[in-house]
Subunit: 299 residues, 2 copies
Amino acid sequence: MKNEFRSWSDVRIFLAVVREGSTLAASKVLGLAQPTVARRIDALEHETGLTLFVRDTRGFKPTKDAMAILPIAEAFEDAAGALSRKVQDLSQPRPIRITGFDTNFSERVSQIFNEFCALHPKIQIEFLPSMQTLDLVAGEADIALRLSRSPQDPDLICRTISLARYSVYGTPDYAAKHGLPTKPEELAEHAVFSFKRSDIRPTLHDWLTHYVPEDKLARIYSETSLMYAAVYAGQGLGLLNLRLIAAKEKAGAVIRCFEPPAALNAEHMVLIAPDAYRRAEVKAFAKYFIPRYAALFKD
Amino acid sequence: MKNEFRSWSDVRIFLAVVREGSTLAASKVLGLAQPTVARRIDALEHETGLTLFVRDTRGFKPTKDAMAILPIAEAFEDAAGALSRKVQDLSQPRPIRITGFDTNFSERVSQIFNEFCALHPKIQIEFLPSMQTLDLVAGEADIALRLSRSPQDPDLICRTISLARYSVYGTPDYAAKHGLPTKPEELAEHAVFSFKRSDIRPTLHDWLTHYVPEDKLARIYSETSLMYAAVYAGQGLGLLNLRLIAAKEKAGAVIRCFEPPAALNAEHMVLIAPDAYRRAEVKAFAKYFIPRYAALFKD
DNA sequence: AACTCGTTCTTCATATTTGTAGAACAGCAC
DNA sequence: GTGCTGTTCTACAAATATGAAGAACGAGTT
């Protein structure tokens, strides 16, 4: 099949001429000049080697060959219609899907979402609070708020927000009863809470068990909020995020035992899938959200 | 659906770029320059409003949107393939279908056919000897050899060969026994054969019955050859074509009773369907056949 | 018979598309 | 590192397609 048919656009003109019965009428529906239409038909006849129309002073009358080709020309048209619809569909604004640890969706962060939604009522936002790491590249979500100690997929658009740090905390109450450790090695002498769940990488838990054997831990939680609450209640010590308990620490409700170990530091970042970033609504959201989100974590 | 997709040709380029992975490679398979391919893709993205490729120094990588469009682009390609095949099929030489009264396919005429076939071994000729008038415009045959008293469809290509004339003939044998009429009004006193068939317009028969009541006719044949044979056998008179029996008349085997009535004159013509005439092989045949055929009837 | 209408074709100036050539850049092999 | 290869861009000249205007033509209408 070496003689491949090249000028697909001419098929569109062919259809108009068949339907209108003249190049002049066709030129009007196509928005072209009449000589152009006639020339395109000439080119099409030349390319196919067929006589498609008999010309005369009352118009272009399709030959049998033209009629034989018509259904195929209509297949082109169907494909064009399908393409239009598909393009329409793809450019339709879809909900923006945002994933992150549930602790990321604090009240102040939610407020930014709300402000944005008020500004752009058409745009929907969908939250996928999940401890698991959804695959942005595969399209499982559009935007991720993430803490990570390892480098990200280079395809993702990445904006670093802050450095997340962790240290061991206890309440003044607990300190008064049991004292506080001054270095990790002293943890084994205390009641220590940890967080662990099978579907999450246990980075913090592993660090703790390096100093406190797992069976000596006071309790292991599968929800961070419960673990935090246990520490606040003065029942033991826990490895807490400096940022999350900053207000409590300042107020003296919790006491930091020692400086945050560098090994636990994690990049706090916003990741955007490149395919998603091409969507106007995602771009608008990112432009609005990221600086405001970053401001929350400004030192 | 006001935003109709216009530039169908760009779909072809889109496919090549998706498949080759770069505009340079695509330009080679398409036989275009690389900047042209890149520009067509730009135009396509602009027309659809989608980002179809991420450009970088190692090529054009299709986005998810591009992949979503791909099956539709392939539908265009399928249509183009179907069109190529259809065009191929339509330009394939088909047998030339020739229709006419069986008396037209005499030995001398067949010889012209044979000569032409020897000259063009690829071209097949198909004979449709039929007393019925096949519809050339509808494509029932390509070429017709015809006798007609009425004007033809103006769409048909028409070449007049001769004027066919008819008169009443009898053998010398018959004449010796019964004498011969000298004008149509005397026919009623003779044994007269006629030809009539339900699917043929009975022009000659009607003329005869104007002078001889149908139930007084000696016999009515449904095959002209049988009727001619009956006249040759001297059993009666018949309305014969001057051209067909010219040799016999010259030899004195039959005798013309009176001058051919003008009302029975018919145009002897070759008709060609315009759609058929566009086919190269039909044109070649007409060019070869018509002058030779006409020569057979030259006065 | 003269007019109008819708049509095709022709011509020419203009607009658009294409190709060529070369710069710039990143990955890869030596 | 250095050079090679495959790639994208950019700029400009050449080729090509387009549109506007008008001639010519035939059919239908007044």
